[in-house]
Symmetry: C2
Subunit: 208 residues, 2 copies
């Protein structure tokens, strides 16, 4: 092994460790965000959970906004990746259903709802984040195409404006009913997901 290799390996190790720590930070952030939300999540929370000090945290992410933005970007990227690897034979409505199922499972396993939109100030913060916006717009345009196609195919209600369906679809990924069912019913995660999909696509009414 040459000196050159040895050095490059050392750097690589360091980078790897750095990357690992960054992932650990983002994992912690994700969990805490899902738990307490943006306003109540403190940088001390994150630092303590990861087991590093606050200034070290700031070496990785320059602000709370930045940190949360990165965590959400990772989430959106996960959704985009999931879409990409999905069986392309599926119909539009099947794709929408499968992605919603994935999002609900991510949430039930302690992840985040994408669309942290309940707060206007958080929404404003994210809209200032260019990287985040680029990603979310990419995902959005894919979903919009699926909705329009499904309406054309007669699988989704064509009487409804497509944005009503699209916004409602997003809302289902962060539906508080999931939390309540998780906490107050004895239902399994599978049952919760199944029922939520049923309600989203068929509503409360008797399905014919």
């Amino acid at each position: 092994m040459s000196i050159f290799n040895s050095i490059s390996k050392k750097i690589s190790f360091k980078d790897q460790a750095f990357k690992l720590r960054e992932d650990a930070i983002l994992d912690a952030t994700t969990r805490i965000l899902g738990d307490k939300g943006f306003d109540l999540m403190t940088m001390d929370d994150v630092a303590n959970t990861v087991g590093i000090s606050k200034p070290s945290l700031y070496k990785h992410f320059k602000s709370k906004e930045d940190l949360v933005g990165e965590a959400l970007i990772r989430l959106i990227d996960g959704a985009i990746a999931y879409m990409a690897q999905m069986d392309q034979q599926l119909s539009s409505v099947q794709k929408l259903s499968t992605l919603l199922e994935w999002a609900l499972r991510v949430r039930l396993e302690g992840g985040l709802p994408f669309l942290p939109s309940t707060s206007a100030s958080v929404r404003a913060m994210l809209m200032r984040n260019m990287t985040y916006m680029t990603r979310i717009l990419k995902l959005n345009s894919q979903l919009e195409k699926l909705v329009l196609a499904a309406q054309k195919e007669g699988q989704l209600n064509a009487q409804l404006p497509s944005d009503v369906i699209l916004f409602s679809y997003y809302s289902r990924t962060c539906d508080p009913a999931v939390d309540y069912l998780k906490q107050y019913s004895k239902m399994s995660d599978d049952d919760i997901v199944g029922h939520m999909l049923q309600v989203a696509f068929q509503g409360f009414r008797t399905s014919s």
Copy 2:
């Protein structure tokens, strides 16, 4: 007019003014809560909006928790009162639909979604508020009866556990899709309400 009358009138005036100011405070609280949420709403916000000083605010409500609790109690009472004056000839599902419509209109006019539950800490705070809990449980038991009756009548999907329907019903009153449609679509409030009801009861699917 006797002296006695005059005195009693004066006291009555004072009480009336006090009550009016209290209502103004609750109105402001409601608006700000709907706008920024609990965490970001400050007592200064409320005091400034009403046009009084912060210590005066504390003469009316002993803490922020107390203030927010009272605002939410007023909201729940509104819902209960609305239920009570509804045409009792309506079917269970019609009652549920009418109440949801009312809740959505209240929200669109700047009011609050009931179920401020997105945050676990706010939920915990409310559960410590006995008056609030009493009211919410009263409303909840009425709604639960309606859901069960509607399922029995074959108007709501009897395959679904009733708590899935009930929790989802609550969720629809605070569905973020409403905010998005209000902000990004050119839709009238009536159209938004109509579409949200359609999506809640029939889902995204083509209605038969």
